[in-house]
Symmetry: C2
Subunit: 338 residues, 2 copies
Amino acid sequence: MEFKDIGEFGFIRRIQRGCLIRPEGVRLPIGDDAAAFIVPDGQVALVTTDLLVEGVHFLRNGTSPEDLGHKALAVNLSDIAAMGGTAREAFVSIAVPGDCALAYVEGIYRGMISLAGEFGVNILGGDTTGSRSDLIINVAVVGAVHEREMLRRGGARPGDCLFVTGAVGDSRAGLHLLRNRLPADSDAFMELLSAHHRPRPHLAEGRFLGKSGAVRAAIDISDGLSSDLVHVARASGLGVRIDAGRLPISENLKTFCRRFGFDAVDYALSGGEDYVLACTVDPTKAAAVAQAFMARFHHPLYHIGKMTSDGRMTVVQGGEVRPFPPAGWRHFSETEEL
Amino acid sequence: MEFKDIGEFGFIRRIQRGCLIRPEGVRLPIGDDAAAFIVPDGQVALVTTDLLVEGVHFLRNGTSPEDLGHKALAVNLSDIAAMGGTAREAFVSIAVPGDCALAYVEGIYRGMISLAGEFGVNILGGDTTGSRSDLIINVAVVGAVHEREMLRRGGARPGDCLFVTGAVGDSRAGLHLLRNRLPADSDAFMELLSAHHRPRPHLAEGRFLGKSGAVRAAIDISDGLSSDLVHVARASGLGVRIDAGRLPISENLKTFCRRFGFDAVDYALSGGEDYVLACTVDPTKAAAVAQAFMARFHHPLYHIGKMTSDGRMTVVQGGEVRPFPPAGWRHFSETEEL
């Protein structure tokens, strides 16, 4: 059955049941002119939105619909995580080409609903329409945070310790396998593919960092560590110095780089779509925060460098200091992103 | 210059200055992982979103970018109006094909910012990316409303008076001119085109109705009066009876229908994209509400029929009662919507 056979309203009736995951605080779910819900007392609302376009961000025949739905929601949850917030309500707009099977669209929702359930997020509305050729998904997520716990990109100070909440580079390695149709013939490669297809938003980690009171700036790693750190540095009027030897590089990425002769540090610095968080921490509190993080999450908050007053983006590797270019995703300067 | 020449971040820097229209209550505008803002004390948040796809909802070469930007925002503001709410923050996702001129995209924002300024709405974020072929715009709007003043689709009761806040059918007439490349050779036809391109969201009217305490159900007319009234009737478990003689049909639409031999009542019932509000009102309060509306807006709240307990959708015309079909927009059952 194709999507157009049941139409917009038929489809909404099919999917709306599973979308209300946390009814408390919801005044109107899917089905009216707008959704209505409360923002918890004393908190500010956070809103982020991401648009995924077939052929630019994903290939329909190279991505399972569940993975696509997972990722479309996960990238937005990651933005809420980077603000130190709690994700609460999601809105899904989807434009479906005439040749797209109903089962594929339902699979997208299955992937989203599964992830939404994990993080207590409701799907409260959106828009469903046709498209001439490409499948388009826009997800907007509303979160909430106490203003004093909100994490901004700016606000870093010289001497702040620079941390990341997880390994970087795995997603880019997964994308390399996908793009070059290389077989995922080991657990390591399967996990790299999974890092690319099903990133885990670091919402609990973001809440922890926001509540710590010691984090001065934070961002999620979507465009690539080096690109995203440029945003933090610019917003704070500072430079960044990364210690290459401290970058968290997974065993899977090491295996991958050995096999294909790639430089793992390069993958870690410029790989995009990791969706871990980077943050700068008051150096007098950094050790305590890192220790509490380890106790809570059972892996380190990785200390990868520091913020500097010189305005330069540098990486120290083998005693040598070199500038790093913000080489990550560029939607318009690369003609083909995938 | 083409859009890809300045890239996503260059474009954001160009447009962000004009986007903060009402700084009060905004904690973080465009530029961080998410926008942050307050929802006024004691009010619930409203969110609505609409996705516009080139070739389905608009033709790039048949629409000025300012009109496209105006409409993309207006259709969302209209949904907030239909809830009785105040529109506050907008989020704009846009996917731009490589051949799209930067000037066109800037024109879209000009149209949005102009309308946003009229209604005190901020543009606080969004996403900007590439597209293989079609221009895609998704707008999400956050509003707020006191829960006791919120207008739902359900909640109508048998005997409720049915009103609309303005003329219906003009937008469809404008679309007919556009589709058939007919010259807009009179003020009447220019105004019909304008009704199609630059609908005015009835936000003040929606607030008035919400505060009246007499409105039991409301919806905005986007799919067409008959289609949208089916939503109200279904949500309330009722029927609708429309008095054709009372439909507000503009002089412009009458002129248009005389010229081309169309039935103005048919245009009024099944035309889409009028973006006026329809509401059902407690019959004991209807006269007072209509009188106050006239005093405030200097034109009638048009009394077009009533809600019935028989579950039927009927129109009375020339003493005859006939069922009306929900003939409005259908994104998937029509292969070509434009």
